[in-house]
Amino acid sequence: MGGRDTDMVLLDANGIRCDGRRIDEPRRIMIKAGVLHNANGSAYIEFGDNKIVAGVFGPRDVHPKHQSNAETGILRVRYHMQPYSVTERKRPAPSRREIEISKVIKEALLPAVMLERFPRTAVDVFVEILQADGGSRCAALDAAAVALADAGIPMRDMVSACAAGKVADTIVLDINNEEDQAGQADMPVAIMPNSGKVTLLQLDGVLTRDEYRRCIETGIAGCKIVYDIQKRALAERHFSGAGQ
């Protein structure tokens, strides 16, 4: 964590955060399923100031062939940031950070996707970050899971992600960019909401044992809020605006 000195008031006396939210309130989340013509499934998410599009292809032939598995299908994930997505222009080639995030997103999705039904094939998930804010890996994962469902890939469960963190000695839900820079801890969490299993968990920062427990609880509560929005996006796409 940054733990950077700052004049900014991260949490005021009334428990209101620097962007006006309560401690248990996520940023604005909007998800739209089915936004691309060429992908088998796709989703667009705005999560705070994050703007992210995800596309899914497959199950399809595996190239290079040596990656294919006779027992099961494989899942490949690419998380990539556009050069203009951040304040300082980012070089277009994938960074080590992007490669690691691609891997943790893949591993968060794997338990939910029924790849064993598609041996020798690949399901490809491509995520483009058009604008990045704090918590882009969670937002990317949320969009990727909706895109997989939109593609009609059999899944055991949805995957929903949201970060929690520690700001001004308080555990808060869904930390934003400023809180990430100046706060004390950032914990991205993803769950399969029906089974309740946690499939992504990372932490930057220092937490006591009790804070650790509360941070996970807070993150899971955020994932459940996201899950409802994911379901609504899929219903709007596939049941002509029927809502829930």
Partner: protein, 271 residues
Amino acid sequence: MGTVSILDGLRRKLVADSVASGRRADGRALDEVRELTVEPGVIPKAEGSARVRLGRTEVVTGVKVNPDRPFPDTGDRGTFICTAEIPPLAHPDAEAGPPSEAVIELARVVDRGIRESHMLDMSQLVIKRDVSVIGVFTDNAVIDNGGNLFDACSYASVAAILSCKMPVWEMGEDAPRLVEGQSRDPPIATVPVSVTMGRIGEHIIVDPSLEEWMCLDARLTITTNSEGNICALQKGGLDGFTPEQLNSCAETAISVGARVRPRLEAARQAR
């Protein structure tokens, strides 16, 4: 492989027949551009940005403006770099990894159209002569490939540049210093419009869709400026054009360009 080439042959015949009839598969006239929408300012973190939809093609472009070191021989001018990327979510055939020949051509053609039109007056992008200048980076991301990426990327780049709010720097002791709270409009001299045409048999079509793109004998991209002059060209494809065809393509590029230009100009309002 056999099935694919039979299908390709059938598709080719279908496209060629409809072009010969004067009415294309999607109902357009031969010189008609697909529906174009230009949404400037979609990426607030970028100094300029635009989302362009041209038929089923979608491009999101951002402009970043940073102090840059000038090239040794042009210390009195800012720098301009234009890139293009087809991330793998744009099409099943698009692959991650180093850019292909086609993607490099795309980026260079879009760059050339803007650079050679002198859209930006680069002499106004100097912080301190020979020491520090302003660099304008225009990065195009093709989100959905529905054909004719040349024009879609060019429109998105031009609209993003027009929508730009440029920060102001002044020279500090050894490095440029951002002047807080100030911004200025980009020094726009002209508005280039790229028009890509394809030849199928004897017929020339404007703004080929992806299906048509696969069937072209040859293609030609012509960029015109606000005065209606031609400022960049790129011929591609396996076959050529007759001189008569080249002349009529130029006429088409000028008239279609004049119809498209006001749509791009409107992006200024996003500043």
